[in-house]
């Protein structure tokens, strides 16, 4: 068998899962990405069989304490003195189902998360023996569980509920008094702990110690009275605490922000991105009836693994703020989109080259910046954006607090030194050369173009989401959309282009900026773009050098995005 090999050969091992032979790699990356022997759990996953588990998490060190992933296996026999492995009568290698020492005949399980596979091993992932083990573990987990699902925020996405239905037994034989532990403990400023619900899988402890590097949580007491705790008087407070809520398989750790806000089964989940900084963590928005309730990280190993920071996670409240700009304003008061667009287009059509300047925002999408740049080219306009910098940390937070600075640079709206051309714009306004200023999503009065200066302009067109000093001076105020209310793409600090989708309907007159800009660009330049975000993106990908080099298309971005060379 001379098979052609195009890739370096991966050493494989063949094991049987539920009677079917499966070839799996001998080693697989562990939580740190280092190769380690493939485990039973991973092998089963490759075979398409999910082994239930609580304490195991692919991005954390293995603990092996929940015992939920127990499976019954059979090992191939060791070679005898003659060097030959024992065989069945038909010559096939003989395997020995694992059994208890001292009690031959009673099957013994191994934990799937930590047991490496051995060639010829047979894994009985759904045998009666395995099922019995799962039942036993689930019964143990439930005897002291308070069963307060009706008030538990985790209900509906709780692994204990799910596995109980899939693998548990309908009734418990427990006839004693339950162990009571502290409830509604304030673990930190953003987290509430219910120790009774906790199943002590230690995921939270391992996460904060190994991934974040803040060894703030531990287990106190002993045996059945064990409980998770932070040190008394030292609240659990780092920028990644809320991830413990995600990884908690039960409702022991709940987010104060989401606590008792909405049952999860009502929430519509929409794939989105965090706009808190240039990292662009992949998220899921949970919303119901046009109200956003929470952000959750979405796994993307190229960007944020399974995590996101607390600051980013709680950075969504502004989307539903009461003072959101909802009315389209023209110089003569409220107006409608058709007339506003007609008037603005009419004004711009008369504008001379060099008399227009654009301040864009690095919080806008690639598509919007691309369209703005088209406008800018038509007028040879000065364009720039506004920098926003903070401190980077060791895990996810980037120093650049704008979600799309890289996009703005690649598209050409701004240079490497973001904000360096703002002074030239100021000069232009002072000298009277610049008569029309288009501002997108920034309060320019905070960045050197003060209200008095804005008064000198003949025309100030502002698009924003929330009111500020600039919006108050606007001749035309175009209410825009937050990223949760439209579609588009961002390019993160490392050059990964990622898309986000629409979770909410914009309120009032607000319209996605790209739709407005698309119309304007068409009216002013005559260029006929595409009236769908897909088409617009593909056109942009064809024109922007870096995007073209990476061969991007809307479809090829997928859910996890694609890299461009910086």
């Amino acid at each position: 068998m001379a098979a052609k090999r195009t890739e370096p050969a991966v050493e494989t091992v063949t094991v049987k899962v539920d009677g079917c032979a499966v070839e799996v790699p001998r080693t697989m990356p562990n939580w740190q990405g280092k190769p380690e022997p493939t485990t039973v759990l991973q092998a089963c996953k490759q075979a398409g069989i999910e082994i239930p588990h609580y304490c195991y998490h692919p991005k954390m060190p293995v603990a092996g304490n929940c015992r939920m992933c127990l499976v019954h296996v059979a090992m191939p026999g060791r070679p005898g003195p003659d060097g030959k492995a024992p065989t069945n009568e038909d010559g096939s290698p003989k395997v020995f189902p694992m059994q208890l020492p001292y009690e031959p005949g009673t099957p013994r399980g191994v934990i799937g998360c930590a047991t490496g596979i051995v060639p010829g091993m047979e894994i009985y992932a759904s045998s009666p023996e395995t099922k019995e083990m799962r039942k036993a573990v689930l019964e143990s987990l439930l005897i002291n569980h308070p069963l307060d699902c009706p008030i538990c925020d985790q209900a509906g996405e709780c692994k204990l509920q799910e596995y109980s239905v899939d693998h548990g037994q309908p009734e418990s034989r427990f006839a004693e008094v339950k162990v009571h532990k502290p409830k509604a403990v304030d673990l930190g400023p953003r987290i509430t702990l219910d120790a009774e619900r906790c199943m002590l899988c230690t995921r939270c402890i391992r996460f904060t110690a190994s991934v974040v590097g803040d060894d703030a949580l531990g287990i106190v007491n002993r045996g059945s009275y064990n409980a998770i705790s932070s040190y008394p008087g030292q609240p659990f407070d780092n920028n990644y605490t809320l991830n413990t809520v995600d990884i908690c398989p039960v409702g022991a750790l709940t987010s104060d922000d989401f606590r008792f806000q909405m049952r999860v089964w009502f929430l519509k989940e929409t794939k989105s991105l965090c706009t808190g900084c240039g990292t662009g963590c992949n998220t899921v928005i949970g919303s119901r009836e046009n109200r956003m309730y929470r952000y959750e990280p979405r796994q993307n190993d190229a960007v944020n693994s399974c995590w996101m920071c607390d600051a980013g996670r709680l950075d969504y409240k502004w989307i539903g703020r009461d003072d959101r700009l909802g009315k389209l304003h023209g110089p003569r008061g409220n107006t409608t989109w058709p007339s506003a667009l007609r008037e603005i287009s009419g004004h711009l059509a008369k504008a001379a080259e060099g008399s227009v300047a654009i301040v864009a925002s690095a919080r806008q999408t690639n598509e919007e910046l691309f369209l703005l740049n088209k406008l800018a080219k038509r007028y040879k306009a000065l364009t720039d954006s506004v920098p926003r910098n903070g401190e980077a940390d060791h895990l996810l937070v980037a120093g650049d607090r704008n979600p799309n600075t890289t996009g703005a640079q690649l598209i050409g709206v701004t240079t490497q030194r973001v904000g360096s051309k703002l002074s030239a714009i100021v000069k232009g306004i002072v000298s009277g050369k610049i008569m029309t200023l288009i501002v997108y999503g920034e309060d320019v009065t905070q960045h050197g173009i003060d209200a008095k200066l804005l008064g000198k302009l003949k025309m100030l067109i502002v698009s924003d989401i929330l009111p500020n000093a600039t919006t108050r001076k606007a001749d035309y105020l175009l209410p825009g959309c937050s990223h949760a209310e439209k579609r588009g793409t961002f390019t993160n600090v490392k050059g990964r282009v990622q898309k986000f989708t629409k979770a909410l309907e914009p309120s009032g007159d607000a319209m996605p900026e790209w739709e407005v800009l698309h119309e304007l660009v068409h009216n002013v330049t005559g260029l006929d773009g595409f009236n769908s975000i897909e088409g617009l993106f593909n056109q942009m990908a064809d024109e922007v050098k870096a995007f073209k080099a990476a061969g991007l298309t809307w479809a090829s971005l997928g859910d996890n995005g694609a890299d461009v060379k910086l």
Partner: protein, 204 residues
């Protein structure tokens, strides 16, 4: 598929025979000596009359009757509902609307963690299916005996938490259910829990 309707004869189209048949039934009942079982005790003293003077007279609602859904209180006159929103989820006509309490929990008793901030049932929408009662893990909502729900405006018929609790009251049916099931401790769930926790031996 097309179903062919049978043509009515002119005699049938006259509708008079049907009308007369209807009156015959009415008259038969009017002159009947047999009392209706539905009205039961209410008519003990009458011999022939089967018509009831509603609304001055009210009938005995039979057990198992599904009237309007109300929130019931526990034996301590405290809210039982914990705002789990399962009834809201299950309600086929979406007549129920619950506003969760948020982080504060909005509780009216020690030991409880969560109660609804607002609980509304749109009685115009309610179809009295009883799913809410069936799904309620806390036995906090019951279809009680009210059948004549009326009001002058639509808004008036959206019952809020206060009204639902007042109408439900400390309901006998909910109480009886516990007693029948021999779980009389259950009606004092929170008390039992607090007591057990107090009696638990400390570790060490």
């Amino acid at each position: 598929m097309k179903v062919k309707r049978t043509e009515l004869t002119w005699w049938e189209r006259l509708y008079l025979p049907t009308l007369i048949n209807g009156f015959k039934v009415t008259l038969r009942h009017f002159f009947s000596w047999k009392r209706s079982e539905v009205y039961g005790d209410k008519q003990k003293e009458f011999t022939a009359k089967t018509t009831m003077q509603y609304p001055e007279e009210k009938w005995d609602v039979p057990t198992g009757y599904r009237g309007a859904p109300y929130l019931v209180k526990d034996v301590d006159e405290k809210t039982k509902c914990v705002s789990c929103q399962l009834c809201e989820f299950i309600c086929p006509p979406k007549a129920i609307r619950i506003t969760p309490p948020g982080d504060s929990g909005v509780v009216d008793r020690e030991g409880a963690e969560k109660m609804p901030e607002e609980f509304e049932i749109n009685m115009l929408r309610c179809i009295y299916c009883g799913f809410c009662q069936e799904v309620c893990p806390e036995e906090a909502i019951f279809l009680l005996e009210d059948y004549a729900i009326n009001g002058e405006t639509r808004e008036e018929l959206i019952y809020n938490k206060g009204k639902l609790l007042a109408l439900g009251g400390a309901d006998k049916r909910a109480y009886n259910h516990h007693v029948q099931c021999d779980v009389d401790e259950g009606i004092k769930k929170w008390e039992t829990k607090t007591r057990e926790a107090g009696e638990q031996p400390a570790f060490h």
